[in-house]
Each structure stands twice: as structure tokens, then as C-alpha cells.
């Protein structure tokens, strides 16, 4: 607790407060919690920079960044499962598919874009809730395999339900898709701004929640279910909420994806997308909101941008190598960056020459 309270104390170099502040920063970097303001600013700043880069780019790069930001919302959801519960979820693409198809179906029935989007997100979130109930009984590799089976079944299921989904041909939108009057299709300015704003709002909401005392409960369940039960907390309810929240974020991404592409088809939601969303999250940092943005943008932009050198079917090679490098190092991108920034900031406030370090008695008190 002391490490959390020192934020208000004057932390002159060489004092105990300075040492504790250093410890607090190191703890925050290792656990992915704490330093709320800095992380919120980093996430918002990075989102702004990404949007500005997209607006300053040509249509091709802009379009892939837009898709990347949309996928980042799904990565954000996946990261809650990976970062908080420590489980592997490979079915983010399935949730995206449900909401994307639902949005296309509702639009086809004459609903307004806004109403269709809300209805689709609500429907997909309910589906996520229903699926979460049996899924939370699984742990580790079992959860990974079950979610993989779900992701694998979605494209063929979409073909089977051709009355609603258009089968192999999918559903195309013959009109511009506008949310509150802003066109979000293709590489328009609205297509950059709306997903970026959605990511910023949902990222901030995730950050606020996970830093709250409820967030601590969620992390406790992820660390040790028996310990959570001993404290009188209901692990099952918490886990269902985590999976449903992830499903909600995936549904938002699915609707934006459908509106942006102007088309929904089985090939858009293959099990490979689910794998890449997981890979993006793990590579960039499963407990980092700004890392989710990096992960999503990697998944969205790398395959189209390297197509001149690597065929589309082989882009998984790049993701595989990057994932292996991250796993072998034991640190994801956000941990590397946060460690580096923390070291630089702490070095700048290192004790000046001649300043006495904190005494052992001070350290123990």
C-alpha cells in the first residue's frame, strides 16, 4: 500500500519517497496496473497520432490503418481475457462475424444504420454471454481448443445460414454507410475518426474499470480462483462478465468492420483472423490498452503493406516470427517500451553526486 500512497509525497532524488516511487513504477510496468493517468494519456495520444498518420496517408495505407484500428477494438476485448484471466481466446473473429452479419441483416430489413448497429451489438453481446456460460468451465489449453473450434465453425455456419447471410456470396451494402451523418465506409475521413474515437472511448472505459476496485476483483479471480472464493467473491460471475465484455468489444469491432468494408462474407471471418487477433494482443501487450492499438494496427496494416514482398497467403510467417521473438524474450512490446520509458525517467531523477542514499533503517521503516 505504501508504494501507492507515495504519489503525493515530495520525491526528491535519494530520499525514501524517490526509491518507493521507482518501485511503484517498476511494479506498474510488471503488473500492467497503476500509473492510470500516464497510461490513459499514452493511449489517447497514440490513438490521436494513429488517426493523424491515417489522415495524412494515401488511400491504401489509410484504409489498412482504419481496419487496424477497428481490429484493435477486438484486440482490446481479447486482451481482457488474456491479460486478466490468463486464458487463450481464439474466437474473437466469431463475435465479430455475428455482429457484422446481424448489422447487415438489420440494414437489409430497412433499419437505420444507428439502430442496426445498436441492435447488432446487443444481439452479439447476448450471444457472447450465452457462449460464455459453458466456456468459463474451461481453463488453459481447453479454453483455447474450444474457442478455436467455435472460430473454425463460423464461416461454414455462415454458408449454411444463407437465407440470412447470403451464403458464399455474403451481403454487400449498395449504399454509403453513415453513422450520425458521418460516412464510415472505405478510407473517408469519417472512417478514420469514428473507429479512432470508439477505440479511445472503449480503451478509456477498460482502463478506468481495470484500475477500479472492481478491476482488482477481476485480477484476483484471474490470479487465483480459490483465493477469490475464499474472499467470498463469485469467480463464475466475474469470468462470465469478462467474456461478455470481450464479446461486446468484438461486436463493436464487427459492426464497424462491416460498415467500413461495405460487405460481409465468410472469408472475412476465418479462424485465422481469430488467431491473428490473439497474436496481435500478445505481441503488443495483453495488459495494455495502448498495446491493443499497436496489436490491432499490426494485424490490419502488416499483411497489405508487405504484399509486394510476401504473398498474402504467407503473411502469417511475419506474425509467427514476431510472436516467437516476443514469447522467447518473455516480454511484450508494451512492457519493453514502458520499461525503457520508466528507466529513462528514473535515470533523469537519479540522486545527484554527493547526495546520500536512503539508509537501511529508512528503507525498512
Amino acid at each position: 500500500m505504501t508504494a501507492i500512497d507515495v504519489g503525493t509525497v515530495s520525491a526528491r532524488p535519494g530520499t525514501r519517497a524517490h526509491e518507493l516511487r521507482g518501485q511503484r513504477v517498476r511494479n506498474a510496468v510488471q503488473t500492467g496496473r497503476g500509473l492510470f493517468a500516464a497510461r490513459l494519456l499514452a493511449m489517447l495520444g497514440l490513438t490521436l497520432v494513429t488517426a493523424l498518420v491515417a489522415l495524412g496517408s494515401g488511400p491504401a495505407l489509410r484504409s489498412s490503418i482504419v481496419v487496424g484500428v477497428i481490429l484493435a477494438i477486438a484486440v482490446l476485448g481479447n486482451n481482457v481475457i488474456t491479460g486478466v484471466l490468463g486464458e487463450i481466446c481464439l474466437s474473437a473473429s466469431a463475435t465479430m462475424a455475428v455482429s457484422a452479419y446481424a448489422a447487415a441483416y438489420f440494414l437489409g430489413k430497412g433499419m437505420s444504420v444507428e439502430l442496426a448497429a445498436v441492435a447488432a451489438v446487443a444481439l452479439a453481446s447476448i450471444v457472447s454471454l450465452v457462449i460464455a456460460v459453458p466456456t468459463i468451465r474451461l481453463h488453459g489449453i481447453f479454453a483455447a481448443l474450444a474457442t478455436f473450434a467455435l472460430a473454425y465453425s463460423v464461416p461454414t455456419m455462415a454458408v449454411y445460414l444463407k437465407r440470412f447471410t447470403g451464403g458464399d456470396n455474403g451481403i454487400g451494402f449498395p449504399y454509403p454507410t453513415k453513422i450520425l451523418g458521418i460516412d464510415v465506409s472505405g478510407s473517408t475521413t469519417g472512417a478514420v475518426v469514428v473507429p479512432a474515437a470508439a477505440f479511445a472511448i472503449l480503451g478509456a472505459a477498460s482502463l478506468v474499470f481495470l484500475e477500479s476496485r472492481y478491476g482488482r476483483v477481476f485480477f484476483l479471480v484471474g490470479e487465483s480462483e480459490p483465493a477469490a472464493e475464499a474472499f467470498g467473491l463469485p469467480p463464475s460471475v466475474v469470468k462470465v462478465l469478462v467474456w461478455t465484455w470481450a464479446g461486446f468489444l468484438g461486436s463493436v469491432a464487427g459492426v464497424l468492420y462491416a460498415l467500413n468494408l461495405g460487405y460481409v462474407g465468410p472469408a472475412n471471418f476465418s479462424s485465422k483472423l481469430g488467431i491473428l487477433l490473439l497474436v496481435g494482443g500478445v505481441v503488443a501487450g495483453a495488459r495494455s490498452t495502448w498495446g491493443a492499438l499497436i496489436g490491432g494496427v499490426l494485424v490490419g496494416t502488416v499483411p497489405p503493406q508487405i504484399q509486394d514482398w510476401v504473398p498474402a497467403t504467407a503473411t502469417g510467417l511475419v506474425f509467427g516470427i514476431v510472436l516467437l521473438a516476443v514469447l522467447a524474450s518473455g516480454r511484450d512490446v508494451s512492457t519493453w517500451v514502458e520499461t525503457l520509458v520508466a528507466r529513462i525517467l528514473l535515470a533523469l531523477r537519479r540522486p545527484r553526486h554527493g547526495t546520500q542514499p536512503a539508509s537501511p533503517r529508512e528503507r525498512l521503516s
Binding site: I141, A146, A149, T156, M157, V310, V318, G320
Partner: protein, 290 residues
């Protein structure tokens, strides 16, 4: 009635292949505590090596030996060179690394082969005998026989042999097993080698049916995942029974409902079994002290 008979008979032969694909997964799980998502890609890479041998004009038995030994070699490189070192960061990291290996192998195969569909030679196209209205080929009979032999051998090895018992000990408590003098790395190498050989054998029977692409065996492995979940992760017998059940079930779904429903029916089967019996049909329930 004819459709039912055909679906059941062909479902059993197909189910033995599903079971064979799950056997490799069980072997790694029983030593390391996770499954390899790269098992199908190991098989595919070995088959591409075998295809080179076939194109050079060598007979089938040489091709089969090359595919199986390539499977062993590639699996050892993947397991001992990549996955096992990552275990120090946790079992989930190790499982994730097999996904990464899968992406790398698929990417490399797509780069080098162009991703085209290729025909792969079968053991024999000759008809063996009729079972009811179904004409079975020698390849089907060989696949069935190899699967049964593999399962009996694995069942006996895990229950009776020192090596199998040592592998189970390593899976249950790695530290205790090492304190008893068992070599962690040697046992893991054995499990990866056996899994690689099983992947090669599986590939030899699957590739002629589905043709060879960088993803063909990988797609087949989903049924293996379902078989080990349904049968129980630590049960060799369970994997075989579940594989056959899944083979028959998927054939019936395909014949009477719609082939596009097969993957979803697999998912539903997995969920139902996990809800009713989380440890699988033949698995042991794990009791842990709090």
C-alpha cells in the same frame, strides 16, 4: 438405410484417422501439459519432403519412410528447439509458441510451394473388399490397421513401459520427476519424436484423400482437437473411441443435414461434453488441494 450404412462404415474409417490425429496431441500433452497447434503443420511439411521423393521416382515405401522420419526430425526441431525453451515463461506461452510455429511453417510452405493444391500418392488404389454396400480400398484398411496398432502400442507404452510411466510422471510433477533422476529434456524429446512420427503416418493417409496444400492437414487436426476434448486429454483409449464417434457423427450430419454444419456440430459436441463431463468421456477428474 443405405445412406446410414455407408455413413457409419466410412465414418468409422474416417474416425480412426481423427483418432490418429489426436494421438499425437495426447502424447505431447501427457509429457508437457499442453497440446501442439503445429502438429498438422509438422505433418504437412513432412509430406512436402515426401512429395519431392515421389517426384524423384522413388517407390512408395521409401516415400513413407521419408515422410515419417521427416515428421520426427521436424517435430524434434519444433519441440526441442523452439517450444520447450519457451516453457520457462509458462505453459500457456509454450502453447502460444506452437501457434507461432504453425504460422511460420504455413508461411514458409506457402512461400516455397506457391500454395497450390497437389495430388499426393496413396498406398494403393486397389479395392480390398466390400463391407455391406461400401467398397473399401487397401488404403482404408491400412489406415485402420495403423491406427489400431498405434493406439495399442501407445496404450501399452504409457501403462507398462518405463519410458511411458516416466512421461506420465513428468507431466504430473516435473520437479519430483527430475528429483527421481528422470531427464526432462530426454523425455520431452521422446514425446515430440513420437508425435512427429504419428503426424507423418497421419499425413500419409489424409493427403491422398484431401490433396496436399499448406493448410490441408491443419484443417483436419480440428477433428483431432475435438477427439481429445471428448475422449479426455489424458486417455489414449478415450481419444480412439471419441475419434470414431466423431467420424460417424460428422458423416451422419453431412449425409442427413448439411456438410456445412459439420464444424458447428463439432463445437456443440465439445460444449455438451464439457458441460456434462468436463474431464471428457474417459479422462480422470483432476483434484487439487487448495
Amino acid at each position: 438405410m443405405e445412406i446410414l450404412q455407408t455413413s457409419v462404415i466410412l465414418g468409422i474409417t474416417l474416425g480412426m484417422l481423427f483418432a490418429l490425429s489426436s494421438a499425437g496431441l495426447v502424447v505431447i500433452y501427457r509429457t508437457s501439459g499442453y497440446v501442439s497447434f503445429a502438429q498438422g503443420d509438422v505433418a504437412t511439411a513432412a509430406l512436402f519432403v515426401g512429395l519431392l521423393v515421389h517426384e524423384a521416382g522413388w517407390p512408395y515405401w521409401v516415400l513413407a519412410l521419408i515422410v515419417i522420419s521427416s515428421g520426427v526430425a521436424i517435430s524434434l526441431v519444433v519441440g526441442m528447439g523452439v517450444v520447450t525453451p519457451i516453457e520457462r515463461h509458462g505453459l500457456l506461452s509454450a502453447a502460444l509458441s506452437t501457434i507461432a510455429v504453425s504460422l511460420v511453417i504455413q508461411g514458409l510452405l506457402n512461400l516455397t510451394s506457391g500454395g497450390h493444391t497437389r495430388a499426393f500418392p496413396a498406398l494403393s488404389d486397389a479395392r480390398a473388399f466390400r463391407l455391406g454396400d461400401v467398397a473399401l480400398q487397401w488404403t482404408d484398411v491400412a489406415a485402420f490397421g495403423c491406427s489400431v496398432i498405434a493406439f495399442v502400442a501407445l496404450g501399452v507404452a504409457f501403462r507398462r513401459s518405463n519410458l511411458g510411466i516416466a512421461m506420465r510422471a513428468m507431466s504430473d510433477n516435473e520437479l519430483a520427476a527430475e528429483l527421481l533422476g528422470l531427464s526432462r529434456l530426454r523425455l520431452k524429446a521422446c514425446s515430440w519424436a513420437v508425435a512427429g512420427a504419428l503426424a507423418g503416418i497421419l499425413g500419409l493417409f489424409v493427403a491422398p484423400i484431401y490433396s496436399l496444400t499448406p493448410q490441408s492437414i491443419d484443417a483436419f487436426l480440428v477433428f483431432g482437437f475435438a477427439a481429445i476434448i471428448a475422449g479426455g486429454f489424458d486417455s489414449i483409449v478415450g481419444a480412439m473411441v471419441a475419434g470414431v464417434v466423431i467420424g460417424v457423427l460428422t458423416n451422419l450430419v453431412s449425409a442427413y443435414l448439411d456438410p456445412n454444419l459439420v464444424p458447428f456440430s463439432l463445437y456443440v459436441l465439445i460444449l455438451v461434453i464439457l458441460l456434462v463431463r468436463p474431464q471428457g468421456l474417459f479422462g480422470r477428474s483432476i483434484v487439487s488441494r487448495v
